[in-house]
Each structure stands twice: as structure tokens, then as C-alpha cells.
Amino acid sequence: MAGRGHAHLGDPAEALLRVEDLHVRFRTGRGTVFAVTEVSLDIRKGETLGLVGESGCGKSTTGRAIMQLPPPTEGRVIYDGQDLTQLRPEDLRRSRTKLQMIFQDPISSLNPRRKVEDIVAEGLKIWQPTGWTPLAIASLVFTVVGVLVTLSMFLGGGVGALGFFGVMALLLGVALGLMHFAGFGQPVDPTMATKVDEILDAVGLDPTTARGRRPHQFSGGQCQRISIARAVVTEPDLIICDEPVSALDVSVQAQILNLLEDLKARYGLTLVFIAHDLAVVKNVSDRVAVMYLGRLCEVGAPDVIYSQPAHPYTQLLLDAIPEPDPDLRHKERAPLQGELPSPLAPPSGCHFRTRCPRADEVCVEVVPEMASTGDGRFVACHHPLVETVVDIGTASARG
């Protein structure tokens, strides 16, 4: 947007997850950082939504706010009929198996002390039904007996040898209980190991060799495969990929992008793909949302946006990309001038107006609303490069 509005949102029935008027603000010593402002998005089942923009534009914050890491300051995140921002912590935890995340730095996002099989299986173990194992029963028996004996001795007056045994039984019961909750004595679920092997194989790692190794024994690309395995293993509906290939070499980047496409088809995933590289985003996305300084600029199909950008910011962003073609040396381009304004005091009206070649008084006064350009793309700009059309159906339906 550098704007606002809901015109670009599709039919709620098609949306797997819907974000409405999301605001994220951080209080700092120097004032309030307006990280995300009035962002509305819908993520449709089975699609890849690319979220693109410069660093500091709020794309990662939006992704994290969807996951409630941390919860947004204002706004709604509707998934499966529920507003995630209103859920109790326990219910939110349950939703996490269906909403997963892949992080930018593949090496630091894996615990270096754990084996690959444990890293990948952790999500499964958390949700394994905790049954009455012998350890749990023993713990309960010792605790109850211990409490009863100790209490009866205290009530009876004297503290004898029996009382001592009572206290010991109580302590033993508590200790066994702690061991139980720490995961000891749980039957090793054979299906879990199979599942881990299957996922490791799916992400292109050889399960027999990879299972017992630790992250430092893998290259960056392989670590990213492990991160992907960890996210996919809980059979999520939606994976938020936060710059998953930015830290990788181009050749490895291509492997990981292809892998994500394959896994998406194989497991029926929906992806939110956050990246600053427009070419990468174009390659994987079904729809692209361009962000600038916490607001949305333009949402639409990548082929439409990239061939004919409607927002001046998108145009400048595309012009800045170096193309691997020496003949484009003298291509006409006006590089984006100036610096990103401080998110502590974003400009009034349209956030992009301070650097926009088309800005005028209206842009200072009024925050632009999302409007359709008629080709399934929506732009929030008072002076778009492609004429907007008034879509009466959408306008009246959404008010």
C-alpha cells in the first residue's frame, strides 16, 4: 500500500490463512518502531505467496507475526476459522504442528549438539501421546504412597523410621516423574523412526548416514535440507520460509528451490516465501506481495507484476536487479535514490512518497487504498503506472 485496504483479499473460503489489518510495533528506548502497518493478506490453499522487499520493510516481521512470534500488536490472523491472536497458549501450541517455519541461517538455526534424527524428530516427540509407561506408573505409586505415609506420620505425632521411608518414597516418586516428563522410558515409536527416514530421504539426504550426524558435519545447503525436514515432518499445512536461500551459493540455492517445489507438490504444502531477491521470488511464487516500510505496495501474479509493475517502487526495485547479460549494460534505469526513512517516524500518507518520482500533495495527505488493475493484481498507489479499475463487485462486497 505503501497503503491499506482489503480489495486484494479473495474469497475467505479459498484462503488457508488470512491476515487482516496487521500492525506490529516495537517499543524501543528511542520511540516506537512501526515495523508492520495495516497489512492484509490472504494465503490461498496450495499456493506459494512471495513476500518481497528491502531489509527493514517488515517482510520477516509479517511472517513471524503470522506465527505469533511475537503476536502482532493489532490485527487478526485467521487460520482454520480461529483467530490465532486470541488463542490460549496451549491451543496456540497445538496449531504449531500445522504452521511451521524455515529460517535464513541454516547453520545457526540447528542445535549443534543434537543429532540430525533428534532434530528432525523433535516436533513429532512433542505431540506423541504420553501413555502410562511403567516409569509413569512407578512414579505415581511412589508419590502417592510417600505422601500418605508422611502425612499419617506427621498427623500421628512422632517421626520414626517409617516417616523417613515415606519422605524417601515421595522424593523418588517426584524424581521418576521428572524423568518421565523429560522423555525417559517412552517406548520408541517405530513409526517415528520410519517417518524421520522418509523425510530425510525426501529432502535429499541419505538417512542411514545422515541420521546419526550433527549439523557441523554438513554444508550450508545440507543444513538447510535438515531445517526443511524438521519443518515438513509434522505434516504442516503452511510453511513460512524466511529467506531460506539467502545464505547459500547460487548452485546450492537452485537445489533448495527445486526441493521446495518438489516437497510442495508431494505433501500438498502452502508456502509463504520471504526473500529480498526478486528473481528467486518470481521463480517460486504463485502470487507476489511487494512491501515497503511496513506496508504493502502491490499484490499479484509474478508474471504480471514483473512484466508491467504498477507501483513505482516495484519498478525501481526491478530496475536495480543486475541481469546476467552483458548486453544490458546500458539499459535505461533510474536507480532508487536516498535512504529508507526511519521506521521510528514513517512518512505521512504513502510511505514511499519521500523517494517516489511521482509523488505529489495527495501522497502526503492520504494513505492509498488497494485497487485492482483488472488483471488480478492490486496496487496501493495514487499514481500507479498501470491504470486501476473500479471493481464494483469487490468494492460493494467488502465495503
Binding site: E54, S55, D201, A202, V203, G204, L205, D206, T209, R213, H216, Q217, F218, S219, G220, G221, Q222, R225, D249, V250, S251, V252, A254, Q255, L257, N258, L259, E261, D262, H276, D277, L278, A279, K282, N283, V284, S285, D286, A301, P302, D303, Y306, L316, L317, L318, D319, A320, I321, P322, E323, P324, D325, P326, D327, R329, R333, P335, L336, E339, L340
Partner: protein, 403 residues
């Protein structure tokens, strides 16, 4: 971008005329070997380069290809446990024999480096002004006012607004793009003849990247400075470099003028690298052609061609014998037994391409990048063929201290 009253280098051995045939920089058979616990790591092997004044050489490769070590080796910013052999002549002076005292005279004044990460290249506890004038204090006999004026002119020439105020600021008060401009201003302070830009824009956004590359280009034209642009991004060098050297496993595998390299690439690695980049002009969901496998282990380099294990066109000869870097007669060098697009090999190569392509797309997941066994036997450098972390960080520290 005008740059008033910028520094003129003090005791520079000036050339009397411009029609000089001797290139600014001549590198012959340069090899750099790091000593490690598990044996020598040949990070750069047998590199020969020529660079004229005012020209840009792009060095392209993946991490671990030796591209950064090459530029640091030329400049002399390598740790003590690195051995360099061959010859590096800068304006006729042999740099390989130069001692620390002589190198100090050259660093900053004659050749300078723009480092990759502007967050760590600057001293966090020193004001910008002091960092910019450091090399001026070292090399030029300027008064305090002259130094200040030069620093302001430098900051203005790299496009930093309000330069007077910035001099008194610390690096953390500037954005990433601004910091990289400061790093460039520091490198340009004494008007070097040769600028090394080691991944100068990797840490930056595309919009800032375009600004920074334009800036380097403008400064280069103004000062007739030679630039060595080190990057992993073929897109960055395509429109900026006059000549490109592609490195793989410590060796130059292909080298040609930019236009020629992109139009008639001969080495399968260059081709694979270009194909693996997502292109803006292709529709979305276009399948990318990934390079399967991983870079070679420089501790135990393979016997034949270093790219053979990942090459779709590899023949038995490729695994047995390493090809020489040959010139096709037009100044286009490549190191390959069966170069791409050569008429005599065309038919065989075409058939191989088709087959290779089908195979790659079909079982990418199953074959690519399966954990290799060497990873367990040799942790550290062997895992992905990179030099161990120690040399890299050691030379970064050294570089910071000395530049």
C-alpha cells in the same frame, strides 16, 4: 559526482606516458597453500592474470573456489601459515618478495580493498572521520584542515549526505549501505591505482547494491583506477566487468572478455553456474538447473578435472587427467577437454546434454548432494571443500589490522 580536492598520492612512481604496454598488475603462476593439521590446502593454484589501468576484472566463483584468497594473496593479506609461490608484479615491482614495510607503503596508497561485510570492516569504537583519514595520515603529509577537507570531499563523492556531521559519528549510527560507502571512501582516500572489491554488495539490498556498484564505476572512471571485482553473482559482473575469470576449486577454469564469456562460454561449470540462476525473464515455476554434488575437497583434490564429478559432459579422460588452461587464439582461455559448443565435439556434446538434462530433472532429490562419506572422516575442511574457518578469520583480522 564531482570530487574536489581529493588526495593525490604522494610518492607514486609515475608513468611518463599512457601508451604503456606493461599492465598495472601482472600475476604469473600464483599459488597459495594453507598449512593445516591434515595437510596442505591448495586454495589458489597456478593463477595467471593481467590487468590494465582503468579496467575491471571480475572474479566469479562459489564459496570455497578460492576467489577471495586470490585477491588477498595478490594484496599480501594472507596469514603467516600461507605459502605463496609464483610472481605478482605491480607497476613492475615484485610484491611476493616485498616485506611488511614496503607493503605498508603500497596498501592504501597504491592498492586498497573494499571488504564484504561493512558491519565488521569498520572499527566500532572509532569515529568515521578518524577511520577515513587514517591512511591519509600514514601516506600523505597533510595538515589537519587538509585532512578534514579531504575526508569531507570523499564522503561527498561517495554520496553521503551531511558529510561534516558524519565525520563525528560512529559506524553503528549509519545504515548498512552508508557503512559500505564509508568503507569505499576509506579505500579511495589516497587515490589507489588498484581497488579490490571483495563481494562489496553481498550484504546489501539490491537497490543499495546498484547504488554502490554505480559509485565504484564512477570513481573508477574518474581516477582511471583498475578494479578487481570478486563476486559469486554472475549478474553483478555481467554489466560491470571488462573481463571475467571464473574460478573453481582454486583454479581459473575459464577467462574471457565479458561479452565473449557470456556469448560463447566454453567451460561446463560456467554454463552450469549461469543456468542455475533464477532468471527474471523466465516465467515463474521454471525448473532451475541445479549443479548436483559439491565443490572438490581442496585437501585431497581429485586427480583429473576438478569439475568432472559434477560435470554433465564428463568422459573417462576427465576423471584421469587434468586439462590445461588453453587459449583458443582469441584470448579466450578455458580448462576443459570437451569444451561446450566446439564444432568438432558438437554432436557428442549435444547428445550428452539431452541425456544429462533428463537425468537431472528426474531424480534430483535422490541423487543430489547425498551425504558423502568423506564428511565423517575429515570434519572441518573436508565437509564442503572450504578452507577451515581458522585461516579465513585469521586473515580477516590481519587485514583489518593492516589496512
Amino acid at each position: 559526482m564531482s570530487a574536489p580536492s581529493l588526495a593525490k598520492t604522494a610518492d607514486r612512481p609515475l608513468r611518463t606516458h599512457d601508451g604503456d604496454d606493461e599492465p598495472l598488475l601482472v600475476v604469473d603462476n600464483l599459488s597459495t597453500t594453507f598449512a593445516s593439521d591434515q595437510g596442505p590446502i591448495r586454495a589458489v593454484e597456478d593463477v595467471t592474470l593481467r590487468l590494465q589501468r582503468g579496467r575491471t576484472l571480475g572474479i566469479v566463483g562459489e564459496s570455497g573456489s578460492g576467489k577471495s584468497v586470490l585477491s588477498r594473496s595478490i594484496m599480501g593479506l594472507v596469514p603467516a601459515y600461507a605459502t605463496r609461490t609464483g610472481s605478482i608484479r605491480y607497476e613492475g615491482t615484485e610484491l611476493l618478495d616485498a616485506g611488511p614495510r614496503e607493503l605498508r607503503k603500497i596498501w592504501g596508497a597504491q592498492m586498497a580493498m573494499v571488504f564484504q561485510d561493512p558491519m565488521t570492516a569498520l572499527n566500532p569504537v572509532q569515529k568515521i572521520g578518524a577511520q577515513i583519514t587514517e591512511s591519509i595520515r600514514e601516506h600523505l603529509d597533510y595538515s589537519k584542515t587538509q585532512r578534514r577537507d579531504t575526508a569531507i570531499a570523499l564522503l561527498r563523492s561517495v554520496g553521503i549526505p551531511e558529510p561534516e556531521r558524519r565525520l563525528k559519528q560512529y559506524p553503528h549510527e549509519l545504515s548498512g549501505g552508508m557503512r559500505q560507502r564509508v568503507v569505499i571512501a576509506i579505500a579511495l582516500a589516497c587515490g589507489p591505482h588498484l581497488l579490490f572489491a571483495d563481494e562489496p554488495t553481498t550484504a546489501l539490498d539490491v537497490t543499495v547494491q546498484a547504488q554502490i556498484l554505480d559509485l565504484i564505476e564512477a570513481q573508477q572512471a574518474e581516477r582511471n583506477m583498475a578494479v578487481i571485482l570478486v563476486t559469486h553473482d554472475l549478474g553483478v559482473v555481467a554489466t560491470r566487468a571488462d573481463e571475467i575469470a571464473v574460478m573453481y576449486g582454486g583454479r581459473i577454469v575459464e577467462q574471457a572478455p565479458t561479452q565473449v564469456l557470456f556469448r560463447q562460454m566454453r567451460h561446463p561449470y560456467t554454463e552450469a553456474l549461469l543456468r542455475s540462476i533464477p532468471r527474471l525473464d523466465l516465467p515463474s515455476h521454471t525448473r532451475l538447473e541445479a549443479i548436483s554434488g559439491r565443490p572438490p575437497d581442496l585437501l585431497h583434490p581429485p586427480q583429473g578435472c576438478r569439475f568432472a564429478a559434477r560435470c554433465p559432459y564428463a568422459q573417462p579422460k576427465c576423471h584421469a587427467e587434468e586439462p590445461e588452461l588453453v587459449d583458443d587464439g582469441t584470448g579466450h582461455l578455458f580448462r576443459c577437454w570437451y569444451p561446450v559448443g566446439i564444432a568438432s565435439e558438437q554432436t557428442t556434446i549435444d547428445s550428452v546434454v539431452t541425456n544429462a538434462h533428463v537425468r537431472q530433472v528426474g531424480d534430483e532429490i535422490a541423487t543430489d548432494d547425498v551425504v558423502a562419506d568423506d564428511a565423517a572422516t575429515a570434519p572441518g575442511p573436508a565437509v564442503d571443500g572450504r578452507p577451515p574457518a581458522a585461516p579465513a578469520s585469521a586473515d580477516a583480522t590481519l587485514a583489518e589490522e593492516d589496512s
